[in-house]
């Protein structure tokens, strides 16, 4: 084997191009007009393909906008299980997620737009969360496995759900703020708050540790 990844031929290049065009068109149009005033036909037209082709790339209109998977279940699970056992679960989850966040920040242009559009069209958030339910289920078993408890226990299920919520919050805040505090920082802040039991903040006085 000369190289692990064979150089993609013209065919795959064209596919990627079409995919990008569809995503870009979808985001632009929905950003301009709102979700309800954009049809799949509009998107296909703007990307210069037939409406039928749209569905060769995405199972749903929403998927072109939100992205099919915003965390890769398998990779994340693996990374989580590789974290040394001494590290507490919540911290281990953060560590397992961080590479992902870094990748998103590298593509911040795309993701900021995506989340801005989602924020403006709440119907999309449901779909996003729904799709992340698959990841959550993976996480439940991974957490249970790592701790040696049953996946039916409260702890794994609660922790997976809560971590998902924390991640979502961090990402939405990142997008709302336009990307100024880094996503990794925001996530760390969220997970730290979690690990401290969400103790109430003191309004006026800031306690630095």
């Amino acid at each position: 084997m000369p190289q692990q990844t064979a150089p993609p031929g013209r065919r795959d290049r064209k596919k990627q191009q079409t995919r990008q065009a569809l995503i870009a068109a979808a985001l632009r149009l929905v950003d301009e007009r709102g979700l309800d005033h954009v049809t799949v036909e509009d998107i296909a037209e703007a990307a210069d393909v037939s409406p039928r082709t749209f569905f060769n790339y995405f199972a749903t209109k929403d998927e072109a906008i939100t992205g099919d998977q915003f965390v890769d279940d398998h990779e994340t699970r693996e990374r989580f299980l590789r974290v040394p056992r001494e590290v507490p679960t919540v911290r281990a989850l953060l560590l397992a997620l961080e590479p992902l966040l870094t990748v998103m920040e590298a593509d911040h242009e795309l993701w900021l737009l995506r989340f801005r559009v989602m924020d403006a069209n709440p119907a999309l958030i449901a779909g996003l969360i729904g799709r992340s339910a698959a990841v959550e289920r993976e996480l439940v078993t991974a957490i249970a496995l790592r701790l040696g408890v049953s996946p039916e226990d409260t702890y794994p299920q609660l922790t997976a759900a809560v971590a998902g919520a924390a991640l979502r919050t961090a990402v939405m805040r990142w997008a709302a703020a336009g990307g100024t505090p880094s996503l990794v920082e925001l996530a760390r802040e969220a997970f730290d708050l979690l690990a401290h039991g969400l103790t109430d903040p003191t309004p006026t006085i800031k306690d630095n540790r």
Copy 2:
């Protein structure tokens, strides 16, 4: 005013009847055949109304199954704000939610079936969560108000999202277990874990406080 609630006439009684019939039909059919193998027409037929009438009662097929609102935003918000300031936020949220859970337990037959059906048809969960996003937004402002911080801060947003996740977990576990540990107990367990920072459980040895 002789009484606060005027006795409902035949008209309102019939409406309630139709509504119940539609919900019951929807749940029964989807439970039997799965979400994809039940059409609105089927449900309407089983409830003995026209398909068009179905949409006079529910905005969506899913809504007849999941219920339009599984927590009442306004009531919960009020209750939350009435909890004395000394009570920490997480605990106050639990207190504000408990009456709701009690109501659900009173109707456990309906709710257990509902959540069983949702568990079997993940597409429904997305919708459920999506609809609870409205509640979450209410909670964010309520938490911020109570603490005297900005609704843009991390704490209110994170806490609202996390509380929602914890509530959802409790309810799903309650349904999965068939209602044996009481819903209120499960919710308390979840919120206690939250307040303790999700510290890792010890697998074999149980520590009772």
